[in-house]
């Protein structure tokens, strides 16, 4: 690192100092709120409000976490979100790949029509109420299907995969054809193994998208036992609600407010940890998706 800097004109040093200074500030600004919440989740809420975070680990306790994990709302929400996200991501990959492959085949004469029919929907949508009425008429209100099924057909993902498949040398399919392979055989035996990177991209994006969304669940799912984690979090973080099971033991209003406050920190940590742990390992796939997305976008 220093060798490179030695090559630079010495007049640049002040500029480099400013740049590194700014970057350090940016990194701290990015991490500090997360760090604050993390440390706060181990602290006594009164202490936290009075003096801010305290780095003395001996004063920390796991009290918030034991409250969180004894709260059935959060545990059920976490489980629901896992199931919904996993199902959604898996089905998304299947639907997207199956749909994208035929669109790369010249023999498919209706390719153009299908393409138009699909692109149009990126710009024209029915909007909130028509979609809501459809879901209601399909009898999917209050069912996880309402948040999983409608989003499975994602034009954006299809374009992404189609572009990827087009980038695979055509000779491969030619030789497969000469060997007598049908579309199915070529798709499953030859193409799929080559598509692993793009499958990872679609899977991860769909998973994170489902994990982090709350809107569809808010309008379609009333039953608390079916709600995803984000809705539970919304009640705790935004609406300052204390889960029903805990009200009995806490009487005074200010105690309730404190409990509501305390639960916030630990619930943020618990709900964002799966993604924050997963993300560094898959960073290259996420980046790839972002790249293709913005260039084509």
């Amino acid at each position: 690192m220093w060798k490179k800097i030695k090559n630079t004109p010495s007049g640049d040093y002040p500029a480099y100092i400013i740049i590194y200074g700014l970057l350090i500030a940016i990194v701290i600004l990015t991490l500090y709120p997360l760090f604050y919440v993390f440390v706060g989740s181990f602290m006594d809420p009164y202490e936290l409000l009075r003096n801010g975070i305290n780095l003395d680990v001996s004063t920390w306790s796991l009290d918030s976490y034991s409250k969180i994990f004894s709260n059935s709302d959060i545990v059920v929400g976490f489980k629901n979100s896992m199931i919904y996200s996993f199902t959604f991501a898996t089905l998304s990959v299947i639907i997207t790949l199956l749909f994208a492959y035929p669109l790369t085949q010249k023999e498919l004469k209706s390719r153009k029509v299908i393409n138009y029919a699909m692109i149009i929907t990126m710009f024209l949508g029915g909007g909130l109420i028509p979609t809501y009425l459809l879901i209601r008429n399909l009898g999917m209100l209050n069912s996880p299907l309402a948040i999983i099924i409608p989003g499975l057909f994602n034009v954006w993902n299809i374009i992404l995969v189609r572009t990827f498949i087009k980038g695979i040398p055509a000779d491969l399919q030619e030789s497969a054809k000469i060997d007598g392979a049908s579309h199915f055989i070529y798709f499953f035996k030859v193409l799929l193994p080559l598509c692993v990177p793009i499958i990872a991209v679609i899977f991860l994006y769909s998973f994170v998208g489902m994990w982090n969304s709350y809107f569809d669940a808010m309008i379609y799912i009333d039953d608390r036992s079916l709600q995803p984690l984000q809705l539970v979090l919304r009640r705790i973080l935004i609406q300052n609600e204390v889960p029903p099971g805990m009200i009995a033991e806490q009487q005074a209003a200010n105690q309730l407010a404190m409990l509501a406050e305390q639960l916030k920190y630990a619930s943020i940590v618990v709900s964002s940890i799966p993604l924050l742990i997963m993300y560094p390992f898959f960073q290259k796939y996420f980046e790839k998706g972002a790249m293709v997305g913005s260039i084509k976008g």
Partner: protein
């Protein structure tokens, strides 16, 4: 004779098509699940747009409800909320657009100056991370940090200033919305620029150094021109989405005290529609909003086509 020929041609076409279908039936099988989803969830709701021109009656359904023409559009344009809503939507959107455009460019230029590959990778890992935090959590954190007793206000009051009602006043809503957005997505937005910057020819930079070009000059004359084409396209594209600002974060940030600036078209559509059951009115406003989006998008696409030598989106 002519008729006969015509029939032959048509028969031929049908034969060709059925031959094509027989040879490629597997392709159609693969398309089938997607086609069903496309039809049911993208096209059937399109039909529901007619609600905007009808007086919805739950007993009669969409089909049977009577037509009322432009009644609901008129109701919206004449409603006292109209200008306030338009103004709130456009200002918030424009502020987010400008900040969301400039911040990633600055960040990318800063990160690109880091010479050590390992350090660069770590900085990227950190600044990308907030992008993966859900909007519920981000807004939840805003309420924690910016509450009257939260850490930001205790810092402010400890310095002798007056406490600032960030989340409970119309005055601060837009700033909180935009700056928290900058915190969350700037890192992610810089990816595309960093990729473009990685294509800058190293020799060009070395040569510039030998000629005594300062760091600022190198940024100005080598790096900025490199990212300019992408920046222009991204800016034009975001102009196309000026009126399609997202619902999710604004709705969570709304409190009864900041409505004067935080009520935007999408939140109003939601409340009118699903909370107050004015289905037709809500659909009409939604249609109005998407019509503006569509016009903006077509306009933007024309501009891009011009710049991009005939290649649209």
């Amino acid at each position: 004779m002519k008729r006969f020929l015509k029939e032959v041609v048509i028969n031929n076409r049908i034969n060709q098509f059925s031959k094509n279908f027989r040879e490629n039936y597997q392709l159609y099988i693969m398309l089938l699940p997607g086609l069903i989803l496309l039809f049911v969830f993208k096209y059937i709701p399109l039909y529901g747009i007619t609600l905007a021109f009808k007086e919805y009656n739950p007993m009669l359904g969409i089909l049977g409800s009577p037509w009322v023409g432009l009644k609901y559009f008129q109701q919206f344009f004449e409603s006292p909320d109209f200008w306030q809503l338009m103004q709130n939507t456009i200002i918030l959107s424009a502020m987010a657009l400008v900040a969301g455009f400039i911040a990633p460019i600055i960040l990318a230029l800063l990160i690109n100056q880091v010479r050590s590959v390992g350090l660069k990778k770590n900085i990227q890992l950190i600044v990308y991370a907030p992008n993966f935090i859900s909007v519920v959590i981000v807004v939840g954190m805003l309420f924690i940090f910016l509450s009257p007793v939260g850490p930001v206000n205790s810092l402010i009051t400890s310095k002798g200033f007056k406490e600032i009602p960030f989340m409970t006043s119309a005055e601060y809503f837009r700033d909180v919305y935009v700056w928290s957005g900058v915190w969350q997505v700037t890192g992610w937005g810089s990816i595309i620029y960093l990729a473009a910057l990685s294509n800058v020819n190293e020799e060009l930079i070395e040569a510039a150094k030998l000629d005594g070009a300062s760091l600022l000059q190198r940024i100005r004359y080598i790096e900025l021109p490199t990212i300019k084409p992408i920046a222009v396209i991204l800016l034009i594209l975001s102009a196309g989405s000026l009126m399609s600002i997202g619902f999710e974060k604004v709705y969570l940030m709304q409190t009864s005290l900041n409505m004067a600036t935080s009520e935007i078209l999408p939140t109003y559509i939601y409340k009118q529609g699903l909370l107050m059951n004015n289905y037709s009115y809500s659909t009409a406003i939604g249609l109005f909003n998407s019509a503006i989006n569509l016009v903006l998008l077509i306009g933007v696409n024309m501009v891009v086509k011009k710049l991009n030598e005939g290649e649209g989106l």
